[in-house]
Amino acid sequence: MFVVTLLIALYSTYGERKVAAFLQDRIGPNRAGPWGLLQPFADGVKMFTKEEIIPVASNKFLFILGPSIAMICCLMTGVVLPWGSELTLFGRTFYLQAVDLNIGVLYVFAVVSVSVYGIMIGGWASNNKWSLMGAIRGSSQIISYELSMGLSIVALVLMTGSLSFRDIVNQQHGGILHWNFLMQPLSFLIFLICAFAECNRSPFDLPECETELVGGFHTEYSSMKLGFYLFSEYINMFISSAVISALFFGGFNFPGMDWLLETTQSQNIVTLVGVGAYFLKIFFFIFFFMWVRWTIPRFRYDQLMNLGWKGLIPLALINLAAMAVIEMLKHLHTFGF
């Protein structure tokens, strides 16, 4: 799974540049390999062979710890995601999911909230004012948007009644009409915006805002440590796309699932097509992330905070209250009405 995640993140960098080129009417990378397909590997080799610079005035241990935390945290989230339903091989049934935690959604939250330290520690340990500013911006942005993200998920959990990814995905079985983004458009919208902010992606890429902060929290980083930071952004993008697809777009469910099961009588084929469908959704969202990055200009910092605290949190609270009322009306009979 790690290999797949890393490979996808690797090619996201390539995809990013191609999408950017396409949107700006350029060609993009085209030298290394056919259509520039080997470009990410060339970049990787470049990153590894560059000179390692650790600033003298920095705190060496924490300086190295920063990118490590960023990388470890974003790789840890993939564990609870359900990549597909069951697969029967040699008479044994496998679930395409590493662990089915009954609190999987909360687990993702915990890991995301810990990943802030990667930015904070890295920015502080660099002993550079730009880095510190970037780190402080980044962490305040992430903790502000975590709140509305959490609230939007709580509204979703109210409806599904489970915190396990597998349960939530299974409940969306049975056609596009059962997918959560139609049931809860507002939650989906809030979650999407917050996901952009959590990944430090444009239009919310204030922590590394080149025009104001040189390079933000990773100004002092060089070589593969910088590579880890940049790379973890792409992995985060992949993981958020996967979470969005699982929570709101039916995960490995696809239209015509039951029909395919009836005609082929094989759960394995359905599962494999489901995995394909899931990855198709994920790739669409990765593309969406890039699309937005090259379309919408960056916010100003006070605008970002206003949107987070005065726009999204009240909206998410109203959404949550409305969901609670709707759920109560649905279950009125259990209260004896």
Binding site: N102, I103, F109, V116, M120, W124, S139, S140, I143, E146
Partner: protein, 168 residues
């Protein structure tokens, strides 16, 4: 197996907690505190309370400690700016801490058995059971705790609010 895991975790938590106090650099102190919270989350996991463990990480390690780190980074405290404490202060601190330790030791030595107050249900930490208990049996304390939080929040907002401008 579980017992040795417990002793290991307990040792780690106490060691990290001690490091919080002994670390010279305030940032290191905060980082040790974060690690302490993680080891406490490990204790919760040993008690089969996964929900509590994760919430502990989200709330303490993920939110509160970030704010701690935030403030300390902004103040940029280090050994040079640390105010010099007088011997009087150190003496008073030692006496106060020693008194607390005496009381704790006295209380602990009086307890004969370390049995839990009532037979614990090992499944209580799972989110389903915890939610049911919290919203039925312990509904009132739960609500009172939330009101306490609300009051604290309003207080913080009022404190942070700017003075009304008199001139235009």
């Amino acid at each position: 197996m579980i017992a040795s895991l417990f002793y290991f975790l307990a040792f780690v938590s106490i060691f990290l907690a001690a490091m919080v106090v002994f670390a010279k650099n305030p940032i290191h102190s905060v980082l040790y505190l974060i690690l302490t919270f993680f080891s406490i989350a490990g204790h919760y996991l040993l008690l089969n309370a996964q929900f509590l463990a994760l919430v502990h990480i989200v709330v303490y390690a993920g939110a509160i400690m970030v704010l701690f780190l935030f403030v300390i980074m902004l103040l940029n405290l280090n050994a040079a700016t640390e105010p010099v404490k007088s011997n009087m202060m150190r003496f008073a601190g030692a006496i106060a801490g020693g008194c607390l330790m005496l009381v704790l030791i006295a209380v602990l030595s009086k307890t004969n058995s370390m049995q839990p107050a009532h037979e614990a249900n090992t499944q209580i930490g799972l989110i389903k059971n915890l939610g049911k208990v919290l919203y039925s049996e312990y509904n009132l304390p739960f609500e009172i705790a939330s009101i306490l939080f609300l009051i604290a929040m309003i207080g913080a907002v009022i404190l942070a609010k700017k003075e009304p401008k008199t001139s235009i």
